[in-house]
Amino acid sequence: MKLRPALFALAATVITAPALAKDVTLLNVSYDPTRELYKALNTAFVADWKASHAGDSVTIRMSHGGSGKQARAVVDGLPADVVTLALAYDIDAVADRGLLAKDWQARLPDNASPYTSTIVFLVRKGNPKGIRDWGDLVKPGIQVVTPNPKTSGGARWNFLAAWGYALKQPGGNDDTAKAFVKALFQHVPVLDTGARGATNTFAQRGMGDVLVAWENEALLAKREPGGDQFDIVVPSITIVAEPPVAVVDKNAAAHGTTEVAEAYLKFLYTPQAQEIEARNFYRPRSPEVAAKYASQFPQVKTFTLAEVFGDWRKAQAKFFADGALFDQVGPGN
C-alpha cells in the first residue's frame, strides 16, 4: 500500500509528459533483477529509434519491483505501456482484467520471451558438501535456500525445476515428485519473500549450503565483491525460465504509444539487444549470439514449462494456489 503515493506520482508525471506526437514516453513495468539489463537496453533502443525516425525522441521510464506486485500495480491502474515480468502468469493476470489480449504470448516469437535463463545452484567455494545435482539437496545435513514460491515469481520456477527433475527420474511420477519436493523443503531453513532476499540470506548472512537461483542472479552474484566465495553448479536437468514481455494494449492505445511500444519489444530480439541481454547474464535466443557467449552459459539439459506443465494457469492452479501442492508439501508441514 505504501507504493500507492509513488504510483500516483509516477502516473501524474507520465500523464503530464508532453503530448507532442514526436516526443513519446514509454513506461516499462518490470521485475526486480532487470534494472541493469533495461538500463542498457533502453539506451540502445532510444539511439536506434532516433536514428530511424529523424526528429523523434523517445523516453523510457522504468518501474521495478516484485513481479506479482508489479502486475497488481498495473491491474490497479499503473499506466504501463509495456510489461516485462518474471513469468507469464503475472501477465495473464493483467490480461484477465482486459488490459491486453488473452493471446498476448503468441504475438511475439519464442513465447514472447526474448531472453531466457535457467535454474542453477550457487554453492560455497570449492563445493565442500559435494553438491552436483537436485538429488544431493535432500541429503542429510544439507541446508537449501530458496525464496517462497507464494510471494516470489522466481521461486516458482525453482519449484517447477525441482518437480520436473523428479518426474524425469526413472519411475518418476506425480507421487515421487511430490515426495521429492516435500523432502527438499524440509531442508529449507529460511523462506525469503523475494529472490534478491534469498540471495542475500545465502551470500551475506551465510545461511545454507546451496542457493537455488536463476542463472543470471547466480552469475551476477559471482561478479559482485566477494563473489569468489561461490561456485555455480549446473544440475543434470533444469527448466528454461522464460520471462515474457508484452504491450499493454489498452494503456498504449490511450497514450498513443502502440507503435513505439511494439517496436521496443521487437527491438529486444535484434542481434544488438541480444548481445546486451547476454552481457547481462540472460541467455539470448539468437543462436549466433549464444554461440559467442558459450563460455558464459554452459550446456545444460533443459525442459520447458509447456513440455511438462502445459501452461502457467495450470501450473499455478496445481501447485501455488491456496491449499494446492506447495501448501501441502512446503516447509512447516
Partner: protein, 274 residues
C-alpha cells in the same frame, strides 16, 4: 440555540469528521467491501486453518510479549534519562527515536546481520543453542525494536512532571524505597505505561518490513499474519487478503479497547495517590 463555549465548533467538528472519513473510514469501508467477496463459509474455512491461526498467534502473541518487554525496559531507560545527569545523556535521548526514523526494512536487515549465524552476536549465540535470526525469537526482537520508542516517548513527559517532593514526603513518613516505588510512583505511571504498551502492541501487530527479514517465514512456525496477507495478494485473491486484514483490525481494536478500559480503571486507582 445555545451558544457554544468553543468558537468555531461546527467548523472544527466538520473538519474532524471529513478528515476521519477520508483517512480512516473510507479505506476501512473499501477493505470491508473487498472482503465481502469470500462469504461466511470462506471466512470460516480461513479461520479454522491451522496455518492462519498460527500466524495470528505469532503476530499477536509476539506483539503482546514485545509490548510487555518494552514497558519494563522503557521504564528503566526513561527513569535513567529523566532522573540522572550523565555525559552523553542527550545523545542517548536522541538515539531513542532512531527506530522511528529508520526504514523498517533497514532495521530488519541490520538485526538479521547481527543475529545471523555468521553475525556479530549470532556467531557466539548460535553455538550456545540460542538461535535468534530466522526463528520466532527474531520476530519478537524486531517487534521490541520498532515498539521501544513509543514507551519511552509517552512516559518521558509524565516522569519529568512527577514531583520529587511526593517521594520525599513518602520517605519522611517512613516508606522504604520499594514502598515508595510501588505505592507512590508506579500508580501514577501506570496509565501512561498502558498507553505506551498499547502503541507498542499496535505497532508490533502491523509490523511487516523489519520482521520478514529476520523471521525465516516458515509456515506454522515463523510466519506472521501480514505475510499471509501479502501471499494472498500475490495470488490476486483480494477478498481473502482483505478478510484477514479485517480480522487483524478487529482483534487489534478489541485489544486497544481493553487497554483503554484498563487505563481508565487504573487512573481512578491512581487518583488517591496524587
Amino acid at each position: 440555540m445555545r451558544r457554544r463555549v468553543l468558537p468555531g465548533f461546527g467548523l472544527s467538528l466538520g473538519y474532524t469528521l471529513t478528515w476521519l472519513c477520508l483517512v480512516v473510514l473510507l479505506p476501512l469501508a473499501a477493505l470491508a467491501w473487498k472482503a465481502s467477496g469470500i462469504g461466511f463459509e470462506g471466512v470460516a474455512r480461513l479461520f479454522t486453518s491451522p496455518r492462519t491461526l498460527s500466524a495470528l498467534k505469532l503476530s499477536f502473541g509476539g506483539a503482546l510479549l514485545a509490548a510487555m518487554a518494552n514497558v519494563v525496559i522503557g521504564l528503566v531507560v526513561t527513569w535513567a534519562l529523566v532522573r540522572y545527569r550523565f555525559p552523553g545523556r542527550r545523545l542517548l535521548d536522541a538515539l531513542i527515536d532512531l527506530p522511528f526514523a529508520l526504514p523498517t526494512a533497514v532495521a530488519g536487515i541490520a538485526l538479521t546481520a547481527i543475529y545471523a549465524p555468521n553475525g556479530w552476536l549470532g556467531q557466539w549465540l548460535v553455538p550456545l543453542g540460542i538461535k535468534v535470526a530466522y526463528t520466532p525469537l527474531g520476530v519478537l526482537l524486531a517487534m521490541v525494536f520498532v515498539g521501544f520508542p513509543f514507551v519511552v516517548r509517552t512516559l518521558q513527559p509524565v516522569l519529568q512532571s512527577l514531583e520529587r517532593d511526593v517521594e520525599e514526603a513518602a520517605e519522611s513518613l517512613g516508606a522504604t524505597g520499594a514502598q515508595t516505588f510501588l505505592r507512590v510512583i508506579l500508580p501514577t505511571l501506570v496509565p501512561t505505561l498502558l498507553t505506551g504498551f498499547a502503541l507498542s502492541l499496535a505497532r508490533g501487530v502491523g509490523e511487516y518490513g523489519s520482521v520478514i527479514f529476520i523471521a525465516g517465514n516458515i509456515p506454522n512456525r515463523s510466519e506472521i499474519a501480514p505475510l499471509l496477507i501479502v501471499q494472498r495478494l500475490e495470488e490476486f485473491d483480494y477478498a481473502t487478503a482483505s478478510a484477514l486484514g479485517i480480522v487483524m483490525l478487529a482483534f487489534s481494536l478489541l485489544l486497544l479497547v481493553l487497554v483503554a478500559t484498563l487505563q481508565r480503571w487504573t487512573r481512578r486507582w491512581a487518583e488517591p495517590a496524587t
